[in-house]
Amino acid sequence: MTGISMVVNGRAVSGDVEGRTLLSSFLRDDLRLTGTHVGCDTSQCGACVVHVNGKAVKACTMFAVEADGAEVATIEGEANADGSLSVIQQAFQDHHGLQCGFCTPGMVMSAAALLKDNPKPTETEVRDYLEGNICRCTGYHNIVKAIMAASGQDVSAIAAE
């Protein structure tokens, strides 16, 4: 076992993990932050996307030991301090960007990473950025629309209300 410590959503945490413990397992099983979903466990689906030192990564394809000393952000840290939804989360609700919701934590974290680097993405840029996030319900259209709306752009011209 290896002792690790990191900052998750602004809170210092530590634990003892095996070498093979995935970051997703550490977040879910040790820290009980179960908002990070594990959909495929093969780094295809993107439901487990979190930020490590500000960069979007798949938490199921990184060892917890590799995040030792890092700053990690998960979906639990996205809401505002008063508990209200973040701009991106609210946009997903307003534009029906989710149905079953399983992929949503990864979608929101990917969207947050995109908008940090590219505050006004085009629709094509949003779709390209979501290449590693799979949704089986929505057909993506309203997810893309929600992210465009969260970036402050007019989405009235985008079809599929």
Binding site: G19, L22, T42, G46, K55, S110, E131
Partner: protein
């Protein structure tokens, strides 16, 4: 996964030392190795993580103009930092996998693994790059030894990859959308002494140079120079996504597109 320990050295020397242990294995970004471990297709006793080694990070330009990329540099960093020096290479890096994969996966890891459908082997072979390890320099022409096989010795670490910058270059990737690897990818680069054409995704032997196309394009750098050429289907990969003859045909199509894009 079977159990193993992870070491996180901060220097190349410490990493090389740690890799001398029995059943020790280098860990780059882990975007291929971790899924492999999950399938129990590998059982190392120790993983030596290379991502914390500062001297293996980043992109710079050598005095002779070559672009030098640290072995532990992520695809996302190459996409951003090589763009001014070698746009075709940066563009290739920016289309590997997906954004989250590009934030972890490294150039050294990709070249050490030598997946027959990976993008970086095409760039390295198509550019005549030099693979620099902890104890020697290997020309790309001598480095790739077939599917998942390279000239690297046990415990040898890719510390840097050095790309001579061509006059013009382009990479055309026919995406296999489920895996996000190349069904066929062709890297074309025009240097003062000739044109290089490297093909990934197509051959059972992994990345290769299409020498007939190189000769034709060196004489006449236009897509029409490929008109009379055809690549035999023998030795091409056949699977449910494409037959050997389909892939052989696709190589020619993608080569033509790459040449056209160079001129665009």
């Amino acid at each position: 996964m079977y159990a193993f320990e992870i070491e996180r050295p901060s220097t190349i020397a410490d990493a090389v030392n740690a890799l001398k242990g029995e059943d020790a294995q280098a860990l780059g970004g882990g975007q291929t190795l971790i899924p492999t471990l999950k399938q129990r297709l590998a059982a190392p006793s120790v993983l030596v993580s290379l991502t914390g080694i500062g001297e293996m990070q980043g992109v710079c330009q050598a005095d002779d103009g070559a672009v030098c990329i640290g072995g532990a540099t992520t695809h996302a960093t190459v996409a951003k930092e090589a763009a001014a020096h070698y746009p075709a290479l940066a563009d290739l890096a920016s289309h590997i996998g997906d954004p989250a994969v590009r934030n972890r996966g490294t150039i050294g890891g990709s070249l050490a693994n030598n997946d027959p459908a990976a993008c970086y082997p095409a760039a390295a072979l198509g550019s005549g790059a030099t693979i620099i390890t902890n104890n020697r320099q290997i020309a790309a022409d001598d480095y790739f030894e077939g599917m998942f096989s390279t000239a690297l010795d046990e415990g040898e670490v890719i510390t840097e990859v050095r790309f001579p910058v061509p006059q013009t270059a382009n990479y055309q990737k026919f995406l296999q959308p489920a895996s996000r690897f190349a069904l066929v990818g062709v890297f074309v680069a025009q240097y003062a002494d000739g044109v290089r054409v490297a093909v990934t995704g197509a051959s059972e032997e992994g990345v290769f140079r299409w020498s007939e196309a190189e000769a034709a394009l060196s004489a006449n750098f236009s897509a029409s120079a490929l008109d009379g050429l055809s690549l035999p289907a023998d030795g091409m990969i056949g699977d449910l996504h494409g037959s050997p003859s389909y892939r052989a045909h696709l190589v020619k199509v993608m080569t033509g597109r790459a040449v056209a894009a160079c001129q665009g």
